[in-house]
Every structure is written in C-alpha cells, then in structure tokens.
C-alpha cells in the first residue's frame, strides 16, 4: 500500500429497507443502507431503492432493532406448528354435495 492512509469508514448505522410496491401489497424487504438518522435513511431509501418509482410506501428499520428467529432454534420454533393440520381447511372432509366452502 502506498503511504496514503486508509480512512476508516462509517459512523453510520445500518437500516433495513422495506418497500410496498403498490397499494394493497405487503411491504417487502429490499436491502439495506447506511444513514445517520431514521429520517435520512428514509430519504436515502428513496434515492437508492426507488429510482424507478418502485414503491408507494417505504419503511426503514434500524438493523439492530430487529429481533430475528435463529436457525438453531428452528426445531423448537417452527416444528411444533407442524402437527396442527386441523388449522388447515384441507383437514376437513365434507360431503361432495357441499361445494364452495
């Protein structure tokens, strides 16, 4: 490396960006960005992720504020939901004459 010293980068927080692409749809995660405040993150989200009018609504969430399920907990977390097939409509057998239910 030449003498030029490498300057360490950010004092900025990571924000996750969620976009509602059209009215009636869910917000969907699209990526992240770095910003100094939530307000700035929202503006950067507009410039960085909506250059082609990809959305009608944006959420930004500080990445450290997200609590996520852990892959290692998956067994305890998801599997117990597996055996409750009475929650699904297909569980119930109705007479053939009953349609549209």
């Amino acid at each position: 490396m030449n003498q030029e010293q490498v300057v360490n980068q950010e004092y900025l927080a990571v924000y996750e960006v969620f976009i509602r692409s059209a009215r009636g749809l869910d917000h969907k995660h699209v990526g992240s960005l770095h910003a100094e405040s939530p307000e700035h993150a929202l503006m950067y989200a507009r410039d960085c992720y909506l250059r082609r009018s990809e959305g009608v609504s944006v959420w930004v969430v500080k990445a450290t504020d997200i609590t996520a399920s852990q892959e290692s907990d998956l067994e305890n977390f998801v599997d117990p939901m597996d055996d409750k097939d009475y929650r699904h409509a297909t569980h119930y057998v109705l007479p053939d004459s009953v349609t549209n239910m």
């Binding site: 490396m1 490498v6 300057v7 980068q9 004092y11 900025l12 250059r51």
Partner: protein, 318 residues
C-alpha cells in the same frame, strides 16, 4: 459435541444446495463458502463502484443533454448496484468499512475492465454495450446463485441493467452510422474494449482458481468459458449490424459447433492488469481514496452531531 453438530449442519447445508434451496444469512454455512462468497460479492460490489469512474469521466462532456441525463442516471445506477451488493455482503458478517478498506489496500479486487481508460465518446457506448453486456450474461446466471441475498440483489440489478446495454448500443450505433470521424471513433472503441470485455469472464475453466468449488456450491452457475462463448455468439451479429470491422480477425462462424470461433485472449495482459499494471489501476484507487478522505470530515461531523443530539436527549430525560 461441536464437531457432531457441524457434521450434521454440513449435511443439512449440502442437502439444501443440492435441492436448489437458497442459503439464507442465519443458516449454518461452511467457512469456505462464506469466505468465497464474501470474496466474490465484495469484488462485485467494488466493481460497480469503481465502474462509476470510467463512465463518470464523460458526464461533464456528454455531447447532448439527453445523453448527459442517460449517462448520469446510468452511473448513478452503478452506485446503487454497488450499494445493493455491499448490503447483501454485509449479511455475511462483514461491514462495509472492512470491505472498503480491503479495496483501498488492494487486498480486494474489482473487475479489471475498469482499469482501461475511456478515451473517446464512443467508449461510453462500448462500455454500455460490451462491458454491461458481458456483465449481464454473467449476472443472469448469478440470479440462480445459492446464496439468497446475492440472488435477490442480482435479480434486482439485472432488471435495472437492461437499459444500460441498450443505451450503449444505441449510442455506438448512432456513431457507427454517423460521420466518418464518428465511425472511426466507434471502431476504435470496439477494438479497444473487445478483448478486455472477453477477459471479464475470467481465466479458462482449467486455470480458474475458484471455479470448481464455486460451481459445486452453486455460487457460480456456469463456467467462465461457457459464459464467454455465449457472449461472443450474441455479440458478433450486433457488430455486423453496426457495419464495423470485427475486432478479432479470427472470428468465424463454425457451422459444425453452431457457434463462433475466435482468437485467443492475451492472457499475459490479463494477469498484468489483475496484478495492478493496467493503464488506470493507480488512478482508480487514488480517486476512491481521495473521495473517501475528502469526505472524512463530513462523516466526522455527522457522528459528532448525532452524539450531541443523543446527549441532549439524555439530558432532557434526566
């Protein structure tokens, strides 16, 4: 105990990759998979960001307001793509500052093509048409990469890049069909960018250090040589439409193989440029460092202001 868990996790990982399931950030993954991804994805991100420079070189000299708007929007998109890719790479547990440091200390690489200069306006056409064209061939394959965030970033990028290649071809077409001087510029740009564009696909499969493992892990989905041939086959007819001379005299349709034959790449040049001896290697890194250093006081101010605001808030609460 840990060992048994890892062995189990490895089996699960291999099964997922085999089943064409995506690997997601919180999944267990082999260390080498993670490292390989960080290398490839950060290199990809750096390429987008360094790629802003050769095209940015002509923003202030674009010959019409329409071209200027197109070029600025395109270079801005490259920045955006760099951002998507840094963002996706950060999910692997590395920060953007670490990646940028690796770039600035030349530990991380970026696409060698950007170490070639843009010398005339037709180069801007050639970059869009050939360089983005080659990148798209590569990126379309990468949409199916096994790592979820990378795959999603690629899908988003491919969608946006379609205009990049078309604007480049439109630009060079206008020049190829323009005045004799313009046509000469177009030919010159094609001649200079053809070989470096072919080099973008990397060394021959037999010489590629990372290829085999990346294929096995489905990080890479098709080999360098397959993708390169695809690019040649789709581009040669486009050269014919321009009415320009072939940049490689050995280009010839091979009826038997159903593809174009072409000459051999100058691999010595390829390795020279990768190893820092391209015409613009120094310039590109220095440019990046300068912008970064010039921005240092801005980032400092941002941090100081945020700290002051926090202190104020805390004082108000107390």
């Amino acid at each position: 105990m840990q060992k048994v868990d890892d062995a189990q996790a490895q089996i699960e990982f291999d099964r997922r990759v085999a089943d064409e399931q995506k690997i997601e950030p919180t999944d267990w993954m082999p260390d080498d998979y993670r490292k390989n991804l960080i290398r490839q994805m950060s290199q990809h991100a750096h390429s987008e960001v360094i790629g802003m420079q050769p095209e940015g070189n002509w923003i202030t000299r674009a010959p019409s307001l329409r071209r200027k708007a197109i070029l600025l929007a395109k270079v801005q998109d490259e920045g955006g793509h760099g951002l998507y890719l840094y963002s996706a790479t950060e999910t692997l547990g590395i920060t953007r500052s670490e990646m940028i440091e690796a770039l600035q200390t030349r530990k991380a690489k970026y696409a060698s093509i950007f170490n070639y200069p843009t010398l005339n306006w037709a180069d801007i056409g050639a970059v869009g048409w050939l360089v983005d064209g080659a990148a798209i061939v590569n990126q379309i394959a990468l949409q199916r990469t096994s790592y979820g965030p990378y795959s999603r970033a690629m899908i988003r990028i491919c969608k946006e890049e379609s205009f990049h290649q078309r604007q480049g071809y439109e630009l060079i077409y206008a020049m190829a069909k323009g005045s004799p001087e313009q046509k000469e510029m177009a030919q010159d740009a094609l001649n200079r960018f053809w070989w470096p564009s072919l080099m973008m696909f990397g060394p021959h499969d037999s010489d590629s250090a990372h290829s085999a493992k990346s294929m096995q892990w489905k990080i890479k989905r098709e080999t360098n040589d397959v993708l390169r041939q695809r690019f040649i086959d789709q581009t040669v007819p486009q050269i014919e439409v321009l009415g320009l001379e072939m940049p490689d005299p050995e280009i010839k349709w091979n009826e038997e193989k159903g593809q174009y034959d072409s000459g051999e790449i100058n691999w010595q040049e390829f390795y020279e440029v990768i190893n820092g001896n391209g015409p613009c290697n120094h310039q590109r890194i220095k440019h990046h460092l300068k912008a970064h250093k010039d921005g240092e006081w801005v980032r400092e101010a941002v941090r100081a202001y945020a700290e002051k605001q926090q202190a104020k808030k805390a004082a108000n609460v107390a």
